[in-house]
């Protein structure tokens, strides 16, 4: 075994223009999926940091009633920018473009994605969109103040830079579509010989369902946003009631994308959970097929439920009931996944390493988020809860307590693969507990505030809600401490951690059968995959391979 003799992708790369001496150009023009994924990762985390600072400033403003640190106009811009960054720049591209890009080829035994140049292009498009969004801060009346939903006619009327924000969202959508196309083709074409669809790792299944949502739903919101741009620039009038347009039509167009988008976020995150659970339970996952198929079902049904965001908009009663039923249907495949994971824990030998703890913690928070989603899906009840902090708490529990936490779980899980080193287990666990406590303190009180009638997007509130906002503000600080703690732990691991070796978790999927960090073009040998992704006997992987080097004689 000469596993450690390889040169990792950190040393060597392809770029679009051949070879460059400059280190920076070697990164930003690299067409190696692993480098592109890290480019995404860093830009994305940078924006996450920005959006987090915005979030903390909102919490500070809401800490006491009345105006404290900013004006109402500013507050409205802040929550819009917070929402836009978190959704379009952080969580939608997050798992697919950062972790997915890195792992998809590795997990299916491919040397890269199908269109490496397109992959690089989508990163550039992403950066362009991000810069457009940010630059509108410094022009005219500043960033849009419409909320991330851009509802017409307010988005047509306001004097802020809505066109910029919409343009940015449109461009980011384009980047997302390109990634989606790339992934679907990669999964169809580049699986290692023998690997049928039902032999793919479950993370790949998550990415596959996600990619289809990206392809099918993003164009719809793209064109709707462009129409709002037209409304503002040319005065066309599709959504402008003074010209006969219908604002409710915009709500439909927006949610036809944005509801599937929430599943676009969660499905790859579920994929991460499906990788972590068998590894640390040391046994095959329970119900592989049902987990795989339920991803596709969630993606499919997820297209048909958008109306649950519009229960008070004046759509007909029958339509409301239909949307409510369909909304409930999504819970069944989601439930199947959770039951499968929990069944995997039965008669297992569970190792509580940091990724496992993150995953289990997330199950707790996501189930709260998901169940409150069902409460919101109950028509008569949602009429009362709609647009209150109950909804805000629901989606932070799902997006932050579900998607972002699983993303962090994934960071810990694949950290040794990406960096080649280990972080400190002890500190990673402490960081998790700080985050977990902070998170619940931050968002649980908001369910109560919402249930007692506190509407969202309120700069100011009535005094009886103060107590909830106080808890929430303190929770936010604890939470922030935890996240910073986590990032420091990971940073120290990357700089000073012990060498991890190719397979520190003793896991089964293909990415663990090559050196850490992987080399350019990933595999020396591509295996013939005639086995399931998670095969263990008494806690030991059945297939242990060394795929980093070429098997000399089979080639000719």
């Amino acid at each position: 075994m000469n596993t450690f003799s390889h040169t990792s992708f950190y040393d060597k790369t392809h770029t679009v223009f051949g070879h460059h001496n400059s280190k920076i150009l070697q990164w930003i023009f690299s067409i190696d999926h692993k480098r592109i994924s890290l480019l995404y990762l860093f830009v994305m985390m940078g924006f996450f940091l920005v959006a987090v600072c915005l979030a903390l400033s909102m919490r500070l403003e809401l800490f006491s009633p009345g105006q404290d640190i900013m004006s109402p106009e500013r507050y409205n811009q802040v929550f819009t920018l917070h929402g836009v960054i978190m959704i379009f720049l952080f969580i939608v591209p997050g798992i697919p473009a950062a972790l997915g890009n890195f792992l998809l080829p590795l997990q299916i035994g491919a040397r890269d994605v199908s269109f490496p140049r397109l992959n690089l292009l989508s990163w550039w498009v992403y950066v362009a969109g991000a810069l457009l969004a940010i630059s509108s801060l410094f022009v005219g009346d500043g960033f849009a103040d419409t909320g991330w939903t851009f509802y017409a006619p307010y988005s047509i009327k306001t004097g802020t830079n809505v066109v910029w924000a919409l343009g940015a969202a449109f461009i980011l959508g384009l980047a997302s579509i390109l990634t989606g196309i790339n992934f679907v083709v990669t999964i169809h074409r580049l699986r290692a010989p023998g690997m049928t669809f039902f032999k793919m790792p479950l993370f790949v299944w998550g990415l596959y369902s996600t990619a289809w949502i990206q392809i099918l739903a993003t164009p719809i919101v793209g064109i709707s946003l462009v129409m709002v741009i037209f409304e503002r620039v040319f005065g066309v009038g599709f959504f402008d009631p003074t010209k006969g347009g219908d604002p409710v039509l915009f709500e439909h167009m927006f949610w036809i994308y944005s509801h599937p988008a929430v599943y676009l976020m969660i499905l790859p995150a579920f994929g991460i959970a499906s990788e972590i659970i068998p590894t640390f339970c040391r046994k095959p996952i329970f119900g592989y097929h049902s987990i795989a198929v339920s991803s596709a079902m969630i993606a499919g049904i997820g297209y048909l439920v958008w109306g649950h965001h519009m229960f008070t908009s004046g759509i007909s009663e029958t339509i409301k009931l239909i949307f409510s039923v369909l909304t409930f249907f999504v819970a069944i495949p989601t439930g199947v996944k959770f039951f499968d994971w929990i069944a995997t824990m039965y008669k297992a030998s569970i190792e509580f390493k940091a990724p496992m703890i993150w995953a289990v913690g997330t199950f707790v928070t996501f189930i709260i988020g998901g169940l409150t989603g069902l409460i919101l899906g109950t028509v008569g009840v949602d009429v009362y809860f709609h647009d209150t902090y109950f909804v805000v708490a629901h989606f932070h529990y799902t997006m932050l307590g579900g998607v972002a936490f699983l993303m962090f779980a994934g960071f810990h899980y694949w950290f040794p693969k990406i960096t080649g080193r280990m972080y400190s287990e002890k500190h990673a666990k402490y960081a998790f507990f700080t985050v977990f406590v902070g998170f619940n303190l931050l968002w649980f009180p908001m369910f109560l505030a919402g249930a007692f009638g506190m509407p969202r997007r309120y700069f100011d509130y009535l005094p009886e809600f103060e107590i909830y906002h106080k808890f929430s503000g303190i929770g936010a600080l604890i939470f922030a401490t935890g996240i910073i703690y986590m990032l420091i732990t990971l940073y120290r691991g990357w700089r000073y951690g012990e060498l991890a070796g190719p397979n520190p978790w003793n896991a089964t999927t293909l990415e663990w059968q090559i050196p850490s960090p992987p080399q350019l073009e990933n595999f020396g040998t591509i295996p013939y995959v005639d086995f399931q992704p998670y095969e263990y006997i008494n806690g030991e992987p059945v297939h242990k391979m060394d795929l980093g080097v070429k098997e000399g004689n089979k080639d000719a």
């Binding site: 009327k157 009631p241 439930g335 009362y384 263990y536």
Partner: protein, 422 residues
């Protein structure tokens, strides 16, 4: 204080029941699922010999059927309660008192069947009230949210949505705006006052602004104006300067008019005699720019006295006596939502304050260039009718929408008159 977390509308108990049921089911699921998970996590944690005890179970058909069927069943229950709670909320009873609700940027207006307009809503207890909710056409989305009554309905510009309730308890309950609508969204509040039937009825028939008011605000309408309304004159003529089918009555009396008599143009002064002729023989002198034959003679329709009343209205009716201006202006400013954005005491809300505005210099930007103007009548009128043409420095364009067609010219005059005294 948000008053009344207790449900007050007749259907609130149904909604609360639905909330408790779905919450109960959710909490139950949470405890079971998370409980089982933690039990497994504890029992099957890695120990020295636990690896030998691992059982690679990959399927169990019965289990898998159970965990699709049982949740489906629970979801069916949740759906049922969603359905019943929606039903009570949406099935409007036959006999209702109808009230039109209009949302506009940061202000609700309630209009009763008899034309009464109020900022807060006053309803008698135990009565079915139907709300027809909309927003001004040139405004944005709002949402009429009454937590104590457990309902919420979006106000969509150009569309009419309905909601209903039957208040079961006396008291004062908050209305909040639940759909984001801009800067002062959080302050778009009002109240529903549930009062006893008698108080309501006396108030409803009176001309008091609110049932809690001591004095009545007399709304004396000029008899001439009433005649203009009841005879359909206002279908073709306006009193605010806008041109419909015929010329406007605004600024007509005493001014010069160009008329054509048998094809030749001449100029006349619109005095009593001319106006009388214009009503009785409309085709003899046709105002330039309008066509003959449109208006028919009112010779047999109006009495001499009525015509005098009308002409008196043209002459004097459009001026309001000084004393009333304060009250009238305040009520105009209040019922049109101006005071949601402007203050009269110098504090800055969304727009500039009215205090010390009249006659002072203002810096405005016109198409991006700053200049200074004096806030005189003409400027203030422009500011109300075309707010975006001159934008006061430091404020943003697009916030205030034009009040053209909403405020009549005389309203604007009253308001401006009032500004002078601030």
């Amino acid at each position: 204080m948000l008053e009344g977390m207790k449900g007050v509308s007749s259907f609130a108990s149904e909604i609360d029941l639905a909330i408790w049921v779905v919450m109960g089911i959710s909490i139950g699921i949470f405890i079971v699922v998370v409980g089982v998970m933690f039990y497994f996590l504890y029992t099957y944690r890695a120990k020295k010999d636990s690896r030998e005890k691992i059982k690679n179970i990959e399927h169990n058909v019965y289990l898998e059927i159970a965990w699709t069927v049982i949740p489906t069943f629970l979801l069916a229950i949740m759906f049922y309660y969603g359905y019943t709670s929606l039903k009570v909320m949406r099935e409007v009873p036959k006999e209702t008192m109808d009230i039109n609700v209009t949302g506009q940027m940061w202000f609700w207006t309630h209009e009763y069947a008899n034309g009464k307009k109020t900022k807060d809503l006053y309803v008698p207890i135990g009565t079915n009230v139907k709300l027809n909710i909309t927003a001004n056409k040139n405004d944005v989305l709002h949402s009429y949210y009454v937590p104590a009554f457990r309902f919420k309905q979006d106000a969509v510009p150009g569309k009419m949505n309905t909601a209903w309730f039957n208040a079961k308890e006396l008291g004062h309950f908050d209305i909040q705006c639940a759909e984001y609508c801009g800067t002062r969204h959080a302050y778009m509040r009002a109240k529903i006052h549930v009062i006893d039937k008698e108080t309501f009825d006396t108030w409803y028939k009176s001309d008091k602004k609110t049932p809690f008011d001591q004095e009545s605000v007399a709304t004396t309408k000029h008899p001439g104006l009433e005649l203009l309304e009841s005879n359909g004159c206002l279908g073709c003529h306006s009193v605010d300067g806008s041109i419909l089918v015929g010329p406007s009555y605004k600024d007509m009396f005493g001014h010069k008019v160009k008329v054509s008599v048998n094809g030749t143009l001449k100029e006349v002064i619109a005095d009593e005699a001319y106006l009388k002729r214009a009503i009785l023989e409309p085709d003899s002198e046709v105002v330039d720019g309008f066509s003959a034959g449109m208006m028919s003679s009112y010779k047999d329709v109006l009495t001499e006295k009525q015509i005098d009343d009308i002409i008196d209205y043209f002459k004097n009716g459009q001026n309001t006596p000084k004393e009333d201006i304060g009250a009238k202006a305040t009520s105009i400013l209040e019922s049109n939502g101006c005071l949601g954005c402007h203050s009269v005491d110098g504090s800055i809300l969304v727009g500039p304050s009215y205090k010390d505005m009249f006659g002072h210099k203002v810096k405005v930007s016109v198409n991006g260039t700053l200049k200074e103007v004096i806030a005189d009548e003409a400027y203030l009128k422009r500011a109300i009718l075309e707010p975006d043409s001159e934008v006061v420095d430091g404020f943003s364009a697009g916030m205030m929408s034009s009040y053209k067609g909403i405020l009549s010219d005389s309203d604007i005059d009253i308001v401006i008159e009032y500004f002078k005294g601030l």
